[in-house]
Structures are given as structure tokens and as C-alpha cells.
């Protein structure tokens, strides 16, 4: 799937779904921001596993990035090499108490977004 492919409906058909708590957080965030937001799955050091949430368009997407899905009307992106390296995970966007990593927006007061992984299909070596 590439950035230009058809947008799937609310994450239900994409490779990411969203919990009810995350939907509520997104609603609140959209109201507070006065505009749409985007998600980018990070990697690497420190807060590397965090989904980073930015005002829509803040993060410049490149040809190496893919659209993982649409969560509650917001696009969720990931670097395609990273997606492959991680074995094409099926993700769930959720919220939990805590401080967001990097330059990410919070998911509301004292909350942060988090991605969880659905049980992976078993790999064979």
C-alpha cells in the first residue's frame, strides 16, 4: 500500500484499528487543535515505539513511507522498510497515561497515544 492508494474506511479495513478510548482522545484532540492530525509510527532510540501525533501535514511524508490505515478519520503512516522489517504487524492505536515522546501531541491531559500489536502470525525460520 502506498500513500496514494485509496483510503480505507476508519481503519476497519486497514492494518490498524483504533480503540474506543483512542477515538475519544482523537475527538478531543481535533476539537482542541481546530484541525486534523496525523500519526507516524516511530522507531529507534528512546521513545522509538511510540506513534507520534502531529497536526496534519506537519511531518513530511516521502516515497519510502506508507499509509498503514486511517484511524477515526486520521491517517496513520509508517516507513515501509520498517513495516517490512517488523513483519507487517497489525496494529491497534490506544491511549494510556503518560507523557508523549519526541515532539508528539498528547492524547489529552496526562494521556499519550500508544500502538499495540495484534498477535502476530507465527513465522517459520
Amino acid at each position: 500500500m502506498s500513500v496514494s492508494s485509496a483510503i480505507v474506511e476508519n481503519g476497519t479495513a486497514g492494518r490498524i484499528t483504533v480503540t474506543r478510548a483512542a477515538r475519544r482522545a482523537i475527538d478531543t484532540l481535533l476539537a482542541a487543535q481546530g484541525g486534523p492530525v496525523m500519526f507516524v509510527q516511530s522507531a529507534g532510540c528512546c521513545d522509538g515505539s511510540d506513534p507520534m501525533c502531529f497536526p496534519n501535514g506537519e511531518f513530511l511524508l516521502g516515497e519510502g513511507d506508507m499509509l498503514v490505515g486511517v484511524v477515526h478519520g486520521c491517517t496513520f503512516h509508517m516507513n515501509a522498510d520498517q513495516y517490512e522489517a517488523l513483519g507487517r504487524p497489525r496494529l491497534v492505536l490506544d491511549v494510556e497515561p503518560g507523557t508523549p515522546g519526541g515532539f508528539s501531541l498528547a492524547a489529552g491531559d496526562g494521556l499519550r497515544f500508544v500502538t499495540r500489536t495484534k498477535a502476530p502470525e507465527r513465522h517459520t525460520s
Binding site: 516511530s42 529507534g44 515505539s49 515522546g101 498528547a106
Partner: protein, 506 residues
Amino acid sequence: MKYQPPGTPGSVVDVAPRYENFIGGKWEAPTTGEYKPNLCPATAKPICDIPKSAAEDIELALDAAHSAKDKWGEASTAQRAAVLNKMADAIDAHREELAVAESWDNGKPVRETLAADIPLAADHFRYFAAAIRAEESEITEIDKDTIAYHFHEPLGVVGQIIPFNFPLLMAAWKLAPALAAGNATVIKPASPTPWSILKLMEVVGDIVPPGVLNVVNGPGAEIGKALAANKRIAKVAFTGETTTGRLIMQYAAQNIIPVTLELGGKSPNIFFGDVAAKDDDFLDKAVEGLVLYAFNKGEVCTCPSRALIQEDIYEEFMGRCLERIRAIKQGDPLDTETMIGPQVSKQQIEKIASYVEIGVKEGAELLAGGHRTTLGGEFADGYFYEPTVLKGHNRMRVFQEEIFGPVLAVTTFKDEAEALALANDTLYGLGAGVWTRDGALAYRMGRAIKAGRVWTNCYHQYPAGAAFGGYKVSGIGRETHKMMLDHYSQTKNLLVSYGTKPMGLF
């Protein structure tokens, strides 16, 4: 021995109820008037309140830095080196105090901060004090009468964003070359570890001219961007994850300024069969080399989190390693006997638990750990996780993603070619370890691994003078080496003609 927690009777560290930003040589309250409790990861209890600053505070810090930069940049290298050496002396003189503060803020065991973080921080200032004194400009004789002079000039004011895993040492890595090269700086510490660097400012704040060194704490979404995207910085340095790294490059592109980035890794630690050829000190060193994945509770960009072991020695070698792993003492970070403390935050420990679960679901075999550690008393709510080992194969997610915890992924290889293929089968290229008694094999592997630092028959050493930085998505630039001065300097070329005759073109 056990150190008393900061702020309690008999502790070597005083704690104020509330701290401020350090701007222009003074403690300045955040313009927001807002503060946030800073939790100790060992107890999950607040240590102190820390400013929740906004973009305006970054502007104030930049005002201070800009008013200080010219004088500092024009100071002789002898004067700047003297300041750096004084900072190093002050850090040494407050070694215990800073070590205990760092342990309490981050959770890392005080045996590490006393022996490594704090002495190394001091040494990096001394190294760059020496390097700037020894730095020479180059002169090129273009022809008999034409000379190209190359002068190093400071960039001006730089922005530096520090990670939570080595708050003081990473600050030293970034501060020392920036200040040595004559720049003024604005630092944003990591949100989980905002305090120890303020204790450092108490120690060195009077040594540095006001405005040369400024520290602002607050949320990344507000002050991180306000700093990194600011038109008034001439360079930005960052250590952290890839998305923020890309965002910083993006902002830097808009301002056409340079960046240095260190963005993590998934470092292989490779043990060839001949390490077990003799039962001697070297074998013991190699066993310790594997167990170093638990150093700083695995919260290290270069954590040797993938152990690749030649299959003929796997059972014997791993048996010894597991015995050593079982002997790791976990608990109070302020006890000098403790080898592993708590993870830095609740979110980190939850992330670790979820990765271990993913690993097991993917079919990895749990060889050690795999659970949160339950400690009693004051540490009952601390973020402790057992040193964990998962055996699997390199395509599993736990072999590909940086977990940033005490979780080792182990697999085996048949021969040199397979070892190299596995080592390089990662998006990252920060660190690697090679263990063998065969020097030629070590050299071939070291040159062929796509990583910026290949520890050979050692691991997790970070001396000033050895360049550190990443290949592939692990970043740009080389720290802890005098070449970092180039990353903090502008080159001025004066092309001078001493001839008197016209060129004859017009």
C-alpha cells in the same frame, strides 16, 4: 554501600521543591507559571517540580544565547579551554552528588554513574578543551603569491536536544564540542529526566559566562519544535528516535542549517566459536560482553540486544551467560551492589512487557526473565523488569525493533558469512560487537559490518577520542571525537593574493 535518597537526611544531594529554567546564568521561572512533577523511576514518587515551559521560554533562552555568543566566540581558545577544564574539575569535585542525582532521576545504578557517567562527562570536557587548543587552521599555497587561509569560526547559537538514557553524559557529549568551538547553546532535556541536568547547572552554572549555556524544560510538542524549527539557531543536535530525527531534519531544511542526529540501533554482538577454545579470562570477558545487554537496563542506543552465537559453542557459552544473568542484582539504584535499576518510566516498562509478549507469541523461547520484578517496600511501585533472554531468529520482531530494555534476542549462526548477513540484516547501523581470538577474522568482520562503531573483544566503552555515530538510519555525524568540532564550526576561507600584477583580463 547505600546512598540516602536525594532530599532525605544524610543524602549527598539537596532537593528543592521546585526548579526553574536556567537562562542567561540565572534561574528563571517559566513564562507559563506551570510546573510538572518529576517522578523517580525507582519509587514512582515525585522528586521535585519542573517547569512546563512554552515557546516564549525558548525565545528568552535564545535572547540570552545571542547576547552572549559574540564575546564567547571571540574568546581565545585558551580562555574557552580553561572554562571547559574548570567545568570538568567541578564535575569531578561533585562526582558523588551528581552520580546520586543521576541515578535517582533516571533509575540507573549508582555503580554505573559513579564509575562511568560522571567521570566520563568530566573527561569529555577535558578532551574538547585539549582538542580546541590543539586545533590548527590550514593554509594552502595555491601558487607562489596566492594563499588560501582556512579559519574555524563558531556557528553562533545552537540547539541541543538530550535523551533520557544518559542525561548528563549525553549533555556532556553535546555541550563540550559546542562550547569548545565557541558556540552558545540552548538545551532541552528529555521529559522523563529533566532534573539531573539542573543539578549540573548548580555545579557548573557559575563557571560558564551567562547566556552561553541555557537549559529549558517542557513538553516536546511545544518547546522541542520551538527550538528545532527556530530561525535563530545555526545548528541542531538530537539523540532520540527516527520520527523526531526526520522532523528535525525537515525543520533544518527549512532554515538551511546542519544537523547531527543519533537515532538508535539494534546492535549485533557476535561470538565466534573460538572464544570458548580455552577456559580463561578472555572467555569470562566474552560472557560479560554478552551480559552487557543489561547495562543501564538496556536503555542504550547501542544496547547489544542481538546476540549471534556460533552454533558449535551455543549450549556451553549460553549456559555460562545465563548463569551470569541469573546473578544480576536488581533493586535500589542507590545501592552500590545493584547492577540493574528500574526502567526510566512506566511507559517504557509497559513497552518492554509488550515486546516480550510479542516475542513469545512469535515463537521465541524464553530463556530468562520475562516478567516485571516485584520489589517490596519503597520500591513496590518502581518500574523494574527482569533481565530477559529470548531465543529465536533474526526475522522476528524482537530482533528488528529497538526495545530499549533489558531484553536480549539470541540466535545462532553457522559460519562467518552467515554471521555477517545476520549482523547487517537490520535497518540500523550504530554499534556492533565482535568476539574472537582470531585477529584477521575480527578485522574482516569489523570492516564488513555496516555500523559506525564495531567494538572488537569489548563492548560498551565510550572513551573520548573514539568517534561514535551511525550508518544507515542510525543517524548523521560523529560524536566523542575532535571531528565533532567541525560539526560545530563554520569554515572561513580567505583567498589572498600577494602578487601586484593585474590578471590581465580587462
